[in-house]
Amino acid sequence: MTFIPLWPQSVSDYSHQVDLLVIAFTVLIVALSAPVFILIVVFAVKYRRGRPADRKHSPNRNIPLEISWSVIPFVALVGFYVWSTELFATLRHAPADALQIDVVAKQWMWKFQHPQGQAEINELHVPAGEPVKLTMASQDVIHSLFIPALRIKQDVVPGRYTTSWFTADKPGTYRIACSQYCGSNHSEMTGSFVVMKPADYAKWLSQSSNDQTLAAEGAALFRSRGCSGCHDPASTVHAPSLVGLYGNPVPLQSGEVVIADDEYIRDSILLPQSQIAAGYQPIMPTFQNVLSEEDVLKIVAYIKSLQPGEATQ
């Protein structure tokens, strides 16, 4: 089987469900196309020109028949549509307790940042059986994180965060690829996806230990880049407090109310004029060319950690 693999490895409940859908759809393809293939050959033989055959009273139209062979396949397809769209919807709803890993894509490498601060290049270690949520940012062009064994893929787009999540069940090493063409070394922008038993993952984390968690690194940046000058509770500048901000609604000057998610915080740092919080002046400078995507992700992690009544990490 190593000579010609015919089916990719499958390591999550989700990937098994995608396989099931694909197999069922293949059956549908056969069911819809077999009549055409078989009848064309049968007719070509039976009614070959010059061959004696009964050709009398052949009909030129039959509206009920025509409607039925257009509507019945469509109804079957709508069934598959519901199935597939439901499965797709699960990709959009990561569990709240998912392990949060940040992904930064750039020509031509993948960088993964674990919440405890460990960063790795072109390798992603995750614990088996635990939901993992990926928040992805691109430093340059559009890339696409593709993990075939999980049957998931998500473009990584400059200027916004995209997300995906999974629960890998089977320990092992699998492929990571970039599937959105991104220039010269596109096909070499690959990596390993390593699923480990939770105990092994804990051991791996401690071995590649990092002095600081992502949030702590973010806190350091928050001070060194001058954010604390305005946003600290003690500051005299009239800037919104960030404690308890994450995940809560923010009324904007425009009258809209948005939820302060990763994307909102990112935009507030890089495009501060785009969404002004109600009651504040648009005085914050942009950090567009000051902070890298990795730095922004760290500051986002720090702001997420600022929960009221809890000590900051």
Partner: protein, 538 residues
Amino acid sequence: MSETATERVSYLRAGHSLKSWLLTTDHKRIAILYVLSITFFFFVGAIAAALIRLDLLTPAGDLLTNDGYNRAFTIHGVVMVWFFLIPSIPNTFGNFLLPLMIGARDLAFPKLNLLSWYIYMIAGLFTVFVLIAGGVDTGWTFYTPLSTMYANGNVILAASAVFIVGFSSILTGLNFIVTVHKLRCPGMTWGRLPLFVWSIYATSLVLVLATPVLSITLVLISLERLFGLGIFNPALGGDPLLYQHLFWFYSHPAVYIMVLPALGVISELVAAGARKPIFGYQFVAASSVAIAALGFFVWGHHMFVSGQSAYASAAFSFLSIAVAIPSGIKVYNWTATLFKGHISLDPPFLFAMAFIGLFVFGGLTGLMLAMLAIDVHVHDTYFVIAHFHYIMVGGTVSAFFGALHYWWPKIVGRMYSIVWGRLAAIFIFLGFNLTFFPQFLLGYLGMPRRYHVYPPEFQVLNVFSSVGATLLGAAYLMPFIYFIHSLRYGAPAGDNPWGATGLEWTTPSPPPKHNFDSVPLVDRPPYDYEVEMEGDNA
């Protein structure tokens, strides 16, 4: 009757000078100009394809460099899409047949028609120049910000070439629309139009409505690259996904520009091959228009993993499966047409059968891609490549060859070798499947497209594909040889060698310069094969 026929000078002999060809306003001669130039660009695109398949024989891609490979697939896509597939059937057979089929002397605007060809050639030669000047490495999709901020310097030149060829498309489309509306002969009602004319008409509507969007998008890319406008650059408040929306708003309908004329050709071939009226003419005609209309509402299915809203994706997924209805009508109606027919196994019909098989498979795998959860996995992999080559190459190119074999006697007045034609149809079918079927497996296994190097476990399937491509390439050369042979040695074809209906078969082969001596009058429904059927009925 026969005396006047010999006195009439055919369009081929009405002037022999180069000038009589290059300044002609005869739609048939312009069609020949297109056939020659499209064949040239087909070879340019095919050479790039051959380089790609040779390079992929080994996992490390030993033949080309990274950048060389990227340029090869870019030029393959650009040339094949804009200089072969889009103009292939409309500009050659549409030009040649549209006036003949509706009983007109020429297109509505003959000079505009010639201008379209010149614009096409200028754009095409410009593309060849870009190729010589170092090529371009963005892929035919020109995605931003790769194309605007990171790719090598020829993006603007390549975009300009595509921009120019767009004018040719628009002018040809307008010309066809006006011709169908204004120049139908007496009795040629909309309900009696040949299905090929219906499909060319629907295609022309798409060309005229969609192409300007592409042109504007290419201008935006060039401006952004030159002046950093920031329309697509997030650092300046732009949006890279906006580009994809604009691009696919044209490029999905463009898929139907490529395949609708092919569907029209197949309807003609099936009716003539079975000597029967096409089953459910009205449904088949309406389905062309329905496909053209629906084609404008499905572009978002190229963007399921782009980061667009999940609700948008769900809507685009649903609209995409709706295209299955009119497409299914065509396929099942063709099959029903064969029932109790007098089926010929001559080359045109073999190509039509091959087309149906490949189109059905390509179409159904396209529905698979319309399913969100499946697309997330196979998007941007070889599965997608296999799917669209089944439609574009298995479909459109098979139909192009079918059309060439069917109307060749009309165009040049001579027959070709039927035996060699049959062999070519069979070899093309086999070579095609050997090339592209393994790519479905590669895609599901997770081999992304546009990959110059790949993991070794994918090699066996890639070798199958490359061997198939070699067979396919050789099979494509076969008609080239026997058609040239037939120009000199082929037996005279006669007016109607297939015993087909349709006004084009009432003219001599090759037709005289002005097509018809007197304005034809149509008093029968299309594909009226009942009369001819009597004698053959055993």
